[in-house]
């Protein structure tokens, strides 16, 4: 509980550092990369004693249950797939958006708070052997949809 607030503050500062300090208001790459690095390393520690996942879907389920619960304190609300490598993860009360007011003006700033997570998920999947592209979509705060596209080739 107490570490949570510490992380929330750290996350806010990372967002600040990546976007404002470098005057890169619309360049989310550094933010995404910090997430990637974290996810890549974290998943290795989490799955150290776990048996190998039998397929892609099982891996995705792990990300949406165990991984998500540990980091975002809740399970995702919905996981959908078209069975062709496209997954949509929906979280109706995304941790980094729950303390933001719900308004049109605030919505403009929402992308800042989801890119770290895009990187985090991509990093985790990469280390589990799945090459993906992760994007996010916020239509109403604090709900958030992550689109995970598996790159197979």
């Amino acid at each position: 509980m107490s570490e949570d607030i510490l992380f929330d503050f750290l996350h806010a500062e990372i967002v600040n550092y990546c976007l404002h300090d470098n005057n890169k208001e619309n360049d989310f790459s550094a933010l995404e990369y910090i997430g990637f690095n974290t996810g890549y390393r974290l998943i290795e520690r989490l799955t150290r004693d776990a048996p190998r996942f039998k397929d892609e879907l099982e891996t995705m389920k792990f990300i949406c249950t165990d991984f998500w619960t540990l980091i975002y304190k809740k399970q995702v609300d919905n996981l959908r797939t078209n069975n062709h490598g496209m997954y949509v993860v929906q979280d109706k009360a995304f941790r980094f958006l729950t303390r933001i007011s719900t308004g049109a003006k605030q919505l403009e700033h929402a992308p800042k708070f989801v890119f770290f997570t895009c990187g985090l998920v991509r990093g985790a999947l990469t280390n589990l052997g799945i090459n993906s592209t992760v994007t996010a979509e916020v239509q109403t705060i604090p709900a958030c949809k992550f689109h995970i596209e598996i790159n197979r080739n």
Binding site: S2, E3, I5, Y17, T38
Partner: protein, 178 residues
């Protein structure tokens, strides 16, 4: 779910998540700045910003009363480390005038997975901690200096953070008002 929930020690995972994220941030900064001194400054500043916000949570959580002397402040800082980072630094090396002391860490959660390469000996990896203390104390009208005396990353046995009282800050009255 119960089976899965018990598979992970969520407290430990949270601590590691924080450590790893911080590590990723430091890595990014080292890529962004050529000068290591700039990275130290940035980390300190980020800590300062966090400390400014963290103190409110700390006061709300502990309902700590006003400190009347530095020795009490030292105890509170120690308590904060226990609450937020789950480590208990030892308070020691008080100066004769009781305005300067050290926090000695046997372990530093931030550096759990870290080894410094040869060319980064100037990096003060845990600068965020000193910034955090400075920021938090400034919000309760205490101006302090805070610096590292020993660091396990540099081969010392312990990590020692020195804190020195500078002055009490008075509320500044805006110009033109009495």
């Amino acid at each position: 779910m119960s089976r899965q929930a018990s598979r992970f020690d969520s407290k430990k995972v949270n601590a590691e998540f924080l450590t790893l994220t911080y590590g990723a941030l430091v890595t990014q900064m080292l890529r962004d700045f050529e000068n290591v001194e700039d990275v130290n400054k940035q980390l300190e500043r980020i800590g300062y910003n966090m400390g400014m916000r963290l103190i409110e949570d700390f006061l709300a959580r502990t309902s700590a009363p006003r400190c009347l002397e530095m020795r009490e402040t030292a105890d509170r800082i120690q308590q904060a480390f226990r609450i937020y980072l789950n480590v208990q630094p030892t308070i020691s090396n008080w100066s004769a005038s009781s305005d300067e002391f050290s926090l000695v860490f046997e372990t530093n959660p931030l550096t759990e997975f870290v080894e410094l390469p040869q060319d980064l000996t100037n990096l003060r990896y845990s600068s965020i901690l000193s910034g955090c203390i400075r920021g938090a104390l400034e919000m309760v009208q205490l101006d302090v200096q805070c610096w590292f005396v020993q660091d396990q990353l540099k081969g010392d046995n312990v990590t020692e953070l020195r804190i020195k009282f500078v002055r009490r800050l008075e509320d500044a009255i805006p110009a033109g008002e009495d």
